[in-house]
Each structure stands twice: as C-alpha cells, then as structure tokens.
C-alpha cells in the first residue's frame, strides 16, 4: 500500500496543473461559449515570457511573474475578446473553434518572431516562500518539494476562489447568463461585454498561472509539452461537461495520479508503458465523448436572438454577373496554361520544388474542403490521415517492393478506412465534440503508430529510394515528372470534389449543413452521408500525403504531427474553406510565402512567420467567414463590375433578411 501511495504522490502536482487549465476551460466556456483551444498556447506564452525575463534578462521571479502572469496573460485574454471573440459571439461552433485554433497555432509561432529563437531551460518556481530545491517533508517516503507545495497550494486557492465567484456572486450569475445570449442579458441592463471580458481576463490569468507552475515540473521547455497538458485538461473538462468545476478538478487530479501510478507499476520495457501510458489522457477524452450524452449537444446555439444575425455572404463565384464569370473563367485558364508552360520551360529548380510542394499540399487540403467546407464539420486529424497514406505506401515499398504509386492507392484506402472508423466512433458527435474526437485521434496516432520506429523509421524517418518509385525521374525536378504527377493527381482530386459538390451527395451534405433535423426528416441518411464524406476525405488526404512524401523524399513522422492538422485548417480557412480554389491557394500560398520569407533576415522568425501570417488571416474568420481571399475576390469582382458593366448586369443578392426574421 505504501508503494501505491508512493507512486500516487508525484502525480498530484501534475493533476493540479491539469485542474487549473481544465477549470479555465470550463470558465471560458461557461462565460463565453468558446472552447478555447488556445489555452495551452497562452500557458506556454506566459511560461516563455517568465523564463525569458528571469533567465535572459536576469529579472527576479516576482516582477517577472507580475509581467507575464498578472499583466500579460489577462491582456492577451482581453485582446482575444475585444478583437476576435466579441465579434463572433453568436456565430457557429466552427467559427469559434477555427479562431481559437488559429491562436493555438499562431501564439507559439509569434514568440520567436518577437523574442528571437531562445534556448530556455525550465524555470524556477514563482513563489519565493517555497524553495523548489528544498524538500520540506516526506509522505509515503516521497519527497515533498517547494514546487510541489507551490502547485498544490495555488491550485486549491484558485479553485476555491473561482467556485465562489461563479456560484455565490452576482458576477458569476451574469457570466452564466451571458453565455446563453450576450444580447439578451444586455436587454436586462447587464454590461455583458464587460462581464465576458472579465471572464476572458480571469481565464487567461489562470492559463498563465498554469504555464509558469508547470514549467519547473516538466523540466523541459517545449510548446508540445503544453499540448499534452491541454489534452489532459480537455479530458477532465469534458467529464465535467464543461460545466462542473468539482468534477473537472477531480478527473484532472485523477489523470495525474493514475499516470504516475501506472508509471510505477508497469514494466518500463513494455508496450503498455511506451504507448498506452502517454495516451491515457486521450483514452479518458474519447471515453467522455463516447459515453457522455451531454457532450453531443454542447454547442447548440441557444441564443433566442440568433435569428437577427445576417446570413453569411455568398461565395465570390456565386455573386458575380454571368458575363464577369465567363471572363474570369477564361482568365483562369490562360493563367493556368501560363503556369504549366512556365513550370515546363523556364521555372528555376528551387521554385519548381516550391510549386510541387504546394500542389501536393493542396491535395491534402482538398480533404478539408470536403469535410469542413461541404459537410460543415471540423476534423482535426487530416494530417494524420495523410501520414497514414504516406507511411503505408513507404512501408509497402520498403518491405514488399511495391511501387509507391501503387502503394499510395493502398495507403489512400487505409487512410479512408481509418477515417471511416473515426466517423463511426463519432456518429453522434457534432461541432466541438467531433473536433475533440478527431484531435484525440491525431494525438493518439502521434503517441503510438507515429512514435514507433519500426513504422516511421525513427527520428530520421524513412528515406525514399528511387527504385521504390520505379524511376528516379520524380527526384529530378529538371525532368518535371514530379510536377506532372502532382498536377495530375490534384486535377483528379479536384474533379472528384467538384463532381461530389454538384451531385446528389453534395446537395445532401449542404442540406445536412443547413439543418440536420430537416435533412433526416426528408429521408437523408445522415450516418451514411457522413461516412461517405469522411471516407472520401480520408482517401484524398492519404493520396496527398504520398505526394508530399515523394516531394520531400522522406517519410517522417514529424511531417504529420497533430499540429499540422491544426495548421492545415488555419491555412484553408484563411483562403476560403468553401471552394476548391481556396484549398489550392492555401497549399501553394503556404510554400510560396515560406520561400519568400527565406529572403528575409532570420531575426524575422523564418518559418514561424508564415504560420503567424496565416493565423492572422484565419482570425479574420470573425469578420469574413468565407475566407479572407474569398472576401477580397468578391470585393474585386464588384469593383470590376462597376467599372466595366452597366448596372443591370450586377447580380444582387438580397442578404438583408435572415431566415426566421419576418419581412
């Protein structure tokens, strides 16, 4: 028994840190209706700044704590609220999730742009009254150090204060009212904007607090570590249905404790230790998503005033005059022909590689057009599915000598099968629930299959050999074989997506996106439609993954890390998730921008800056849900039409009235 408690004891501070983040998630969701994926990034940012100030700038702990946690963290929350989330208070779940994902991706990338690349170690504890290096006493023969005491004490104080705030104060009552409808509580004379802003400030303060508390416990300083923290916290918050602080706290502490107990009992050389143990938080999250009915209706819009919102604008292609449409189509064909001719004749080798990578990535991104643009669901594991395709193809070539292009088809089928399993597991989940399930799947793959050297070839990956492709032509950019292959595959995938969109399945998906209740009431089998779209998107992602791998000449698990799934969403949303050209522009735009940034001095952040740029584009989703490029195209169309067409040619779309408003 002493062993048991001895193993359990070290888990408590981990659990406490998970609990702070979990409770912060609950608070933000309760007060604002936003599931803040960026919480982990905010925690990382606070810890980064705190460590930077103490280690690089040689500040003492207290002023660094005040700047990073007391001032900066709430300020980030207030800016998020004022600039972003306030504008989408009544938008759908996808809009809110996309913006928080953009922050999750953008904030860690922004830090090196601002502070430069820093090599920081784990920081000291923030509380001078608990020395982290001093063991104060022993419990079950386990040392209780200063950082242990600091974490537990802070957690207890914060949780008690927050519970009291939400349960027993007028402010807490107003926060609970504001989540239903900011506009409605305003009609009761409540300054709902102020209430929600305060909630953002408090929850962001908690994120910062969790960040600096965790830094010395983790002993290493990486943003990925904070992602694991997020999953444990999300799992705990999910078991509390994003409502109950005590349940979220209890589950968070339990995850921490069970992890260290298993660590103590499991043999270190077993598969359970290496694969299942790190995946424990994901299993807890998946179990919550599968077995808690409350998780299926988390993101229902309960705002009685929701119908006064204007509808989203039409796509640029749908809103232009027919004559204009013809001109633009012709211009696109001319542009396309010029691009192909350029690639085959004078394009420098470097830039041919850039465009080839862009075409391959565009294929992966088309899968997001299908799932998010057409079916209205958010999948956070498309990079994982691409990785499944890539590794299957590479392994078949490596072990069986199967040509990678043929193996790519097998990989696409396997990626499709994985996507179908995910679709089946998440049949009853929508919006946030589905996003969490797919994120859990992505992280699970990262910790298991993609972490297995026999599958992925370890840290260096599986280097492709020309014989695996039957020819060395694909490795030689001057021969243009890879360009023609990438273009051909992308063209086939584009045709597939367009055919689906204009066909019956596309109409059914659009109907589902509009109203699942009415779609089912017409006889549309929602389950089947969802399986079809997941399967197709999985296959396209898998094929795209193979293309990317051929282009990079190596299959590496770092290419298909969960964070790429998030980045992919951010990319497509920036350019336009509803259109095929949005995916192509995102894919090519990402690599072209990255290449252009290499001409800038390294102090501007290098590759981080491209992610920041796209993340900034994606946060524009608040203002332009159709995508910033789509918005610009529509504006351009209108200007062009006004200049060159008589007034009767304008296609006016009366969008003043939303469904549900009288008129």
């Amino acid at each position: 028994m002493e062993h048991f408690f001895g193993f359990a004891m070290p888990g408590i501070p981990y659990g406490c840190a998970y609990a702070i983040v979990a409770v912060g998630l609950v608070l933000t969701f309760q007060a604002t209706g936003v599931f803040n994926f960026a919480f982990g990034a905010q925690a990382y940012a606070a810890a980064f700044v705190f460590t930077y100030l103490t280690q690089i700038r040689q500040w003492s702990g207290f002023p660094a704590f005040v700047v990073s946690v007391v001032v900066m963290s709430p300020l980030i929350g207030l800016v998020c609220d004022r600039v972003l989330f306030r504008r989408i208070g009544n938008s759908n779940t996808t809009a809110k999730l996309v913006i928080s994902l953009s922050l999750l991706v953008g904030i860690p990338s922004l830090l090196p742009v601002i502070f430069g690349a820093q090599n920081l170690d784990a920081t000291a504890t923030i509380f001078p009254f608990f020395n982290p290096n001093v063991v104060y006493f022993y419990v079950f023969q386990q040392p209780v150090s200063g950082s242990y005491l600091a974490t537990v004490t802070v957690t207890v104080v914060v949780l008690i204060a927050l519970t009291a705030l939400l349960r027993y104060t007028n402010l807490g009552l107003q926060m609970r009212g504001a989540v239903e409808s900011r506009r409605l509580v305003q009609l009761d004379g409540v300054n709902s904007g102020g209430v929600v802003a305060l909630a953002w400030a408090i929850s962001s303060f908690m994120a910062g607090l969790a960040g600096v508390l965790l830094a010395p416990i983790y002993g290493a300083f990486q943003s990925d570590t904070y992602a694991t923290l997020m999953v444990a916290a999300i799992a705990a918050a999910a078991w509390g249905l994003l409502r109950s602080i005590p349940i979220a706290t209890g589950v968070a502490v339990l995850i921490g404790v069970v992890s260290t107990i298993l660590q103590g009992y499991l043999p270190t050389d077993s598969i359970l230790y290496s694969a299942v143990l790190p995946s424990l938080p994901f299993f807890v999250l998946v179990a919550a998503l599968l077995f808690l009915p409350g998780m299926r209706s988390l993101d229902l819009n309960r705002d009685p005033l929701a119908t006064i919102d204007p509808p989203p604008p039409p796509t640029a292609a749908a809103s232009r005059a027919p004559s204009m449409d013809r001109i633009i189509r012709r211009a696109w064909w001319i542009f396309f022909a010029a691009f192909v001719v350029s690639m085959l004749t004078w394009m420098p080798k470097t830039w041919e590689g850039v465009f080839n990578s862009g075409l391959a990535l565009s294929t992966v991104l088309l899968s997001i057009t299908l799932i998010t643009g057409m079916a209205g669901q958010l999948s956070l594991c498309q990079a994982t599915l691409a990785g499944v395709g890539a590794f299957t193809s590479a392994q078949l070539a490596h072990h069986l000598g199967l040509n990678m292009l043929l193996g790519g088809l097998v990989g696409a089928v396997l990626a499709s099968a994985v996507a179908v399993v995910l679709a089946l597991l998440s049949l009853r989940l929508r919006g946030l629930g589905l996003a969490l399930m797919t994120l859990a799947a992505a992280l699970l793959f990262d910790n298991t299959f993609f972490n297995d050297a026999s599958i992925t070839g370890g840290a260096s990956g599986l280097s492709l050999q020309a014989k695996w492709l039957g020819t060395s032509a694909f490795f030689n950019f001057n021969g243009h074989a890879l360009f023609l292959l990438s273009l051909g595959v992308l063209a086939v995938c584009v045709v597939i997506v367009l055919q689906v969109r204009k066909g019956t399945v596309g109409r059914n998906l659009a109907a589902m996106r509009g109203s699942e209740t009415a779609a089912a009431g017409l006889g549309i089998n929602l389950t089947w439609q969802r399986i079809v779209v997941f399967a197709l998107a999985g296959a396209i992602a898998g094929i795209g993954g193979v293309l990317v791998t051929i282009g990079q000449q190596v299959a590496n698990s770092a290419q298909w890390n969960y964070s790429f799934s998030l980045i992919f969403i951010v990319l497509v949303v920036t350019t336009g998730v509803a259109t095929v050209e949005g995916a192509i522009q995102a894919g090519i735009g990402f690599f072209v921008t990255s290449q252009l940034l290499t001409y800038l001095p390294a102090r501007f952040g290098g590759s981080s800056l491209v992610i920041v740029l796209f993340a900034f584009g994606a946060v524009q989703y608040a203002k332009h849900p159709e995508g910033i490029l789509e918005f610009q195209k529509r504006q351009g169309n209108q200007r062009f039409e006004r200049l060159f067409f008589p007034k009767e040619y304008y296609t006016l779309h009366p969008t003043e009235l939303a469904p549900g408003t009288s008129g």
Binding site: G503, T504, G514, A518, N525, S662
Partner: protein, 257 residues
C-alpha cells in the same frame, strides 16, 4: 368495412425527467384524412410529432404506420416510408436556393444519392425531376422564388419553402407544425388552400398542429384536443369547440362560465 388506419397511435407516452410531456395518447389517421391537433402551449403536440417522426423515442405505447410498428425505425427511414413534416421553428437549408431545397426532397424520394453516380456525372437534374419541382413550386405559389437563396427570404416565405419541400417528397401523411405561425392573414389563407388541395388532389393525409383555430376549422375533417400532455377529446371541429373541457383548457375559468 372501415378503411385501415394510415397512422395509428396507441397509448403513446413520453416523459422528460419527471414531466409527462405526452401521456397515453391514442388516435388514428386514415389515408387522405385531415386531422387537427390543437391545444394550448405546452400541451405536447410537437413532442408527439417528434415521436411520430422518430426524432424522439416514445417511452410507452405503439406507433404504427401502414399497419407496421415504427419502433426502432430511424427518422430518415420513416420519411422514406411516407411521413413528411414541417417544423414549428423553421428549418431551412441555409445557403441553398429554393429550387435546391425541393431537389433534395425529390432526390430523397427517389432514393438517389449514390456517390458513384455523382463521380460518373450521372446525377445531373433530369427534366422529369425539374418538372416535378416546378409543379410543387406552383402548387405552393412560390415559383417566383425558385432561384432565390433562402438566406434572402423572410419567415413567411421560409415556411412556404418548408411546406413545398415536404410536399416534394410526396409523403403519404404530412405533419404540419404550426404552418401559419408568423404569416399574415393572406399567407395563412394561401397555406390553408394548399393543404386542402394537397389532401384533395394527392390524397395526402394531414395532421395539422395549429393555434389559428379558424384555419383548423377550414382545413380538417376531425380534431383532437390535447392539454398538459393528455388527450382531452376528439370529434369534428364544432363538436370539440363546444366541449366545456376544451373551453376551459383554452380560456380557463372564463371559458367555462
């Protein structure tokens, strides 16, 4: 011999926690018949509709359609059997044109929707499908809105689109949930006329939930009255309106006196 019931409800009950939203409801609807389901707010009418459509599972009792029990039959299969519906809170497909709304219903009625047909370009709209859609648009009187996005329509027109979409699926029975809610007096008269035409010309049975009692009196053959989840009475419209219990349910003590 009496015509067999198209829809038969036998002792249907549904509770939410401790609240009996629907309690022991039994009545039948025959093919081509029009039944009004009336009662004050909270009577359980929409809950009963949800049980019939499969959006809610009834706790007790049995629902039969065409003589076959519907237990375990999911919503989309009930729709394919011939149960059509409009909704109290309007449910349209955002971003879609009115014509596309009806095309979704038309394709669904035909059991179309195979991916391979889309991929092989075999799912373009046929003339027959287009004609069927035009007929329904004409019937409901919204042909002029065919190419308009529902985003641009007001509540009244959205209700008409919902009605047209339900009719395009050619249901055997139409469950119309407050179709006149939010409509002006002329639009209400148009909806009543459409419902009568559909019943007369297509032989569609209608189960109508409506607060506008004059519209109910105009459209239905029989009326079922519910209050607080239970069935108060059943009969012709005039009979039930003369019933003191019904007057009490609607008007309280003032109704009885």
């Amino acid at each position: 011999m009496a015509e067999p019931a198209l829809l038969s409800l036998r002792g249907v009950s549904k509770s939410f926690g401790g609240i009996h939203a629907v309690h022991d409801i039994s009545f039948e609807v025959r093919a081509g018949e029009s039944i009004g389901l009336v009662g004050p707010n909270g009577a359980g009418k929409t809950t009963l509709f949800n049980c019939v459509c499969g959006q809610l599972r009834n706790d007790e009792g049995e629902i039969l359609f065409d003589g076959a029990p519907l237990v375990g039959v999911p919503t989309f299969k009930r729709a394919r059997l011939g149960i059509g519906r409009t909704y109290q809170k309007v449910e349209v497909f955002t971003d879609m044109s009115v014509r596309d709304h009806l095309m979704v219903a038309e394709r669904s009625r035909r059991g179309e929707g195979r991916l391979w047909k889309d991929l092989l370009n075999m799912s373009t709209v046929t003339k027959e499908e287009s004609d069927n859609v035009d007929v329904t648009l004409e019937l409901v009187g919204i042909s002029r809105l065919a190419e308009t996005s529902v985003n641009a329509l007001g509540l009244g027109n959205c209700r008409l689109v919902e009605l047209a979409r339900a009719l395009a699926a050619e249901p055997k029975i139409l469950l119309a949930d407050e179709p006149s809610s939010g409509l002006d007096i002329h639009e209400t008269a148009e909806v009543a006329a459409v419902l009568r035409t559909v019943q007369r010309e297509r032989g569609t049975a209608i189960l109508l939930v409506e607060h506008d009692l004059s519209m109910v009196g105009e459209v239905v053959d029989r009326t079922v009255v519910m209050d607080l989840g239970s069935m108060l009475c059943e009969g012709t419209f005039d009979e039930v309106m003369a019933n003191p219990e019904v007057r009490h349910a609607y008007l309280g003590q003032m109704g009885v006196s």
